[in-house]
């Protein structure tokens, strides 16, 4: 094993063990966090002063697969404001990774994203039931100079989601817009998107806490990617639209959560195919401190 491989291996091992190490150092046990779907906007709620962490492996395929590891930290500033930090680590890059928002609280490949969730509205119609609307505002900073030969700048993003959760049924609809800032006369195309998700917890998994809690989702993401710009010139054909649909599953047990999902394209319209995807895959391991 080369020195480079050894250091890479040690780095990934450190990333995976980091939350466990931190939990031992702080001795903290309060928890609660993003416990919804994998790809689509939802309204996660952490209580005041609560902290959660998740690590996800993601893949987007366009001919060949790109793999990325993301660490996400979530902190409840108040019961209605949640702060999030999403840090990417590329495991396997491909030359022209398709553009798109890869999950609820994260941007595309290679972007560090800081975000805030603001719960604008909430009502509790009964035991185990929530109906709420949340505003998501974020900013991203790229970890590389260029992406697909285009200089990458920071970006601003805002989204809005509203939905209902109960012990049996779940549903959220939302949408947002992400705008990349011009960098050296280059600019990545803006992303406009809408998401929808429905979820169900079968009776067999409706045992009371602390027994494991499982639920299944059907998620849908539609993204409109704007044309990118290179040296001041619009790159015709880089923009277009893709609509994806697929299942995901979420299991919760105490302070641990495990979820996985896959989206397949049901409609794609890109004239040059740059931003088309064969599938979008994600696995998430969550821990609530």
């Amino acid at each position: 094993m080369s020195l480079l491989q050894q250091s890479t291996y040690s780095y990934f091992l450190f990333l995976i063990l980091l939350p466990v190490l931190l939990s031992g150092v702080t001795g903290s046990t309060t928890a609660q966090g993003g416990h919804g779907p994998v790809f689509t906007l939802a309204s996660p709620t952490l209580g005041q002063g609560e902290l959660s962490y998740d690590i996800m492996a993601m893949s987007v395929r366009e001919g060949e697969s790109a793999w990325m590891l993301r660490q996400n930290w979530h902190y409840g500033l108040t019961e209605d404001i949640q702060l999030n930090l999403s840090i990417p680590t590329t495991l396997k890059a491909i030359p022209d990774a398709p553009q798109g928002r890869l999950g609820t609280l994260m941007g595309t490949y290679g972007d560090i994203e800081m975000s805030g969730l603001f719960r604008l509205f909430k009502t509790y119609p009964g035991v185990g039931k929530r109906f709420e609307s949340t505003l998501l505002v974020s900013g991203t900073v790229p970890t590389e100079d260029r992406r697909n030969s285009i200089h990458v700048g920071p970006s601003l993003h805002a989204g809005l989601v509203t939905g209902y959760a109960s012990r049996t049924l779940y549903g959220w609809v939302g949408g947002g817009y992400q705008h990349y800032v011009e960098q050296h006369d280059d600019r990545l195309g803006s992303i406009t998107y809408v998401t929808g998700v429905v979820g169900y917890r079968p009776p067999v998994f409706q045992h009371d806490y602390p027994k494991p809690d499982w639920r299944i989702f059907l998620e849908s993401v539609t993204e409109w990617i704007g044309d990118s710009q290179l040296r001041g010139q619009t790159l015709d054909g880089t923009g277009g639209m893709k609509s994806m649909l697929g299942p995901s599953v979420l299991g919760l047990y105490g302070k641990w959560g495990l979820s996985a999902g896959i989206l397949f394209p049901i409609y794609t319209d890109f004239s040059d195919g740059t931003n088309a995807e064969d599938f979008r895959l994600s696995m998430v391991l969550s821990y609530w401190f």
């Binding site: 046990t29 002063g49 609560e50 035991v127 185990g128 009371d208 809690d213």
Partner: protein, 165 residues
């Protein structure tokens, strides 16, 4: 002078003696709206178990119920417990409580007051309860079980529908 010294000595002894039958909240069964997942229950349970004065707390997700048993000596108020529920991102609704306090009468209504400041206006459900309460001297410590209604906002005066004295 000698008598005064004896009186001060005896008074000091009383002051130094532990307060027996400490008046306070003893048990709370708080209905909670808005919890829909295991981490929600985990977070609330841990938050409550960390509160000074609570000896054990457990959460039923299916019933939306937080059950907290309080220490023999504690200074917790019902407001503090319900505030912790709100800070967890949920909504506290009706509650069943067991409380020990001093019986008083204010504006013709029975009230019990705990040392931590909670005041409960007693709503007597049966004539037996009213008769029983009528036999208790004002200023005496009593233990009551009862219900706090569903739509109660944060307050200094709780309405307690008494089930048992």
């Amino acid at each position: 002078m000698r008598h005064l010294t004896v009186i001060i000595f005896i008074a000091s002894l009383f002051w130094m003696l532990p307060q027996s039958g400490h008046a306070q909240l003893e048990e709370v069964k708080q209905t909670v709206y808005g919890m829909d997942c295991a981490p929600c229950a985990y977070a609330l349970e841990n938050r409550m178990n960390k509160m000074e004065g609570i000896t054990s707390a457990s959460v039923s997700l299916n019933d939306g119920l937080l059950t907290a048993t309080l220490a023999n000596e504690n200074t917790l108020t019902l407001n503090q417990i319900r505030k912790a529920v709100v800070e967890s991102g949920f909504s506290p609704k009706k509650a069943e409580i067991k409380v020990t306090g001093t019986l008083q009468k204010e504006d013709g209504r029975y009230v019990i007051i705990t040392p931590s400041g909670d005041k409960y206006i007693l709503k007597l459900n049966t004539s037996d309860t009213a008769k029983h309460l009528g036999n208790i001297r004002l200023g005496q410590k009593i233990t009551l079980s009862g219900n706090i209604p569903q739509e109660t906002a944060e307050t200094d005066y709780w309405t307690l529908a008494v089930d048992d004295v």
